[in-house]
């Protein structure tokens, strides 16, 4: 179990950030993929932007973007109308064999 997975299980979304150049390394990695500097863990903002969405069996899934760089697939709860570019909030995250991200519209 990695730190990333442990934190997700505690409803914390963390990512590795380069100590040297401050680049956010996503997916998390041992070294910076820009300068090969060492990385440290830091929380990711829970505010996100909706990039694209669809649904399966009435359950809405999407790609959401955090901090202008980190994109993940997740689930959107609720029945409000959706439009790419709108604000989302990360309501809940977890790790159970795969990462799980659940959003609400802001």
């Amino acid at each position: 179990m990695t730190r990333f997975e442990d934190e997700l299980k505690n409803n914390n979304f963390v990512c590795s950030e380069c100590v040297r150049c401050k680049h956010l390394v996503w997916p998390p990695s041992e070294f910076c993929n820009k300068c090969f500097g060492d990385v440290t863990w830091r929380p990711v903002s829970r505010k996100a932007i909706l990039v694209e969405f669809s649904s399966k069996d009435g359950k809405c899934f999407c790609i959401a973007e955090f901090e202008d760089s980190i994109r993940v697939f997740g689930t959107i709860e609720g029945n409000s109308a959706l439009s790419p570019g709108q604000n989302l909030v990360l309501e809940y995250c977890n790790y159970d064999e795969t990462p799980k991200f659940v959003f609400q519209t802001d």
């Binding site: 996503w26 997916p27 899934f61 790609i63 697939f73 689930t75 795969t98």
Partner: protein, 369 residues
């Protein structure tokens, strides 16, 4: 510039069987040796195997089972474009002079471990390929007004073409109604919009010009190669109504061959899902952006087989490690006038497009007779 040719091909029926992967590979290799004049096992310098099957030293096993003692043998794996990656490796060996003759064989079983990508954290719980296909579909529908019916035309066209392909997985046509009412996997991806994972193998013999003339009177030349990998994570695709790796790969391939889309007579492109064919036609310059759906409908209405004459992945099936090589086999047959009922009239220049992992990696080849 040194010329590199495809001199012979082999192909198995795409289906679902109990046969192990080495047995399927051998069947396609056997076809090459049985149908190629002057070719003996001792002539083969390189054996490359293409698969996602996680088999240790498979190329050595296949070499031994084929009675070949090559200088170089190894596997090449890059998910769904493993086949064209292995072919480019063979090209490089021959072009460099390290080898004169290379045998490239790709195969897969229907239950391939390459179907689900566990490394890609960014996919979250949405690991299955239908989810990335649904994202491309949503984006293209929104930007260009693509409809579910437009997508269905890709499927009925390619299933129709597959009827004349004796190696195809599907052996019957599907109507517009069949596709429109096939099971909804997501709100915009239906079962018949998807390619079918299956068993299958394909093989090609890559040679120097001198060797090619020894083995065949109708060599097909590899004149353009483009390849680009942007990432392993699907979510690194910035623009979901387009395929960045494909645009880069095709630009490089056109430049190397000094060709454009207008010069291409016949195309095998990677229609893993219906939306892929529409986007790829646009991104490779066969029509303007937003015109891919109309282009496909025109092909269907006029029974024009220029795009995916063997039925594409949707009609022929998708044995991952074999797919790129099977696409090359089809273009070889088209350019050498051996495509029988599928023959595109007077085809001289062909294009193969093979991609993987939601278009995070693409390969484009230009082939000429």
């Amino acid at each position: 510039m040194k010329k590199v040719a495809i001199a012979a091909t082999g192909l198995t029926k795409f289906n679902k069987t109990e046969k192990p992967i080495d047995s399927i590979m051998l069947s396609s290799i056997r076809t090459i040796f049985e149908n190629t004049k002057n070719l003996e096992q001792k002539d083969v310098d390189v054996v490359l195997t293409s698969t996602n099957a996680n088999k240790n030293y498979l190329a050595n096993i296949i070499s031994e089972l084929s009675g070949i003692r090559p200088k170089i043998s190894h596997s090449v794996e890059s998910l769904c474009n493993s086949g064209t990656n292995s072919l480019i490796s063979a090209y490089a060996y021959v072009f460099s002079g390290l080898a004169e003759t290379a045998l490239v064989v790709g195969a897969e079983k229907a239950n391939s471990p390459g179907l689900v990508l566990n490394w890609d954290m960014s996919r979250g719980e949405y690991k299955h390929p239908i989810f990335w296909a649904s994202m491309f579909t949503s984006a293209h529908m929104r930007k260009y007004g693509t409809s579910l019916e437009d997508l269905a035309y890709v499927s009925i066209k390619n299933h129709k073409n597959a009827i004349d392909n004796p190696h195809a997985y599907f052996e019957k046509p599907f109507s517009l109604d069949d596709v429109m009412h096939s099971k909804n996997l997501t709100e915009n991806v239906r079962l018949l919009d998807c390619s079918m994972p299956c068993d299958g193998a394909a093989a090609v013999l890559i040679c120097s010009e001198e060797k090619a003339r020894k083995y065949t009177d109708t060599p097909v030349w590899i004149t353009g190669i483009g390849q680009k990998t942007i990432s392993a994570s699907f979510t690194k695709n910035d623009n979901l109504s387009s395929m960045e790796s494909t645009k880069t790969a095709v630009t490089d391939a056109y430049q190397m061959s000094n060709k454009t889309a207008k010069d291409v007579d016949v195309v095998e492109l990677h229609d893993a899902f219906s939306v892929c064919e529409i986007i790829e036609l646009e991104d490779m310059g066969f029509c303007q952006k937003g015109q891919g759906s109309k282009f496909v409908r025109d092909l269907y209405d006029t029974d024009n087989r220029k795009i995916n004459p063997r039925g594409g992945l949707i009609g022929a099936g998708h044995p991952l490690g074999a797919t790129g090589i099977a696409q090359v086999v089809e273009i070889y047959q088209q350019l050498s006038g051996k495509a029988e009922k599928r023959q595109v009239h007077n085809a001289k220049t062909g294009l193969v497009h093979n991609m993987s992992a939601g278009s995070t990696s693409s390969t484009v080849l230009i082939l000429e007779s």
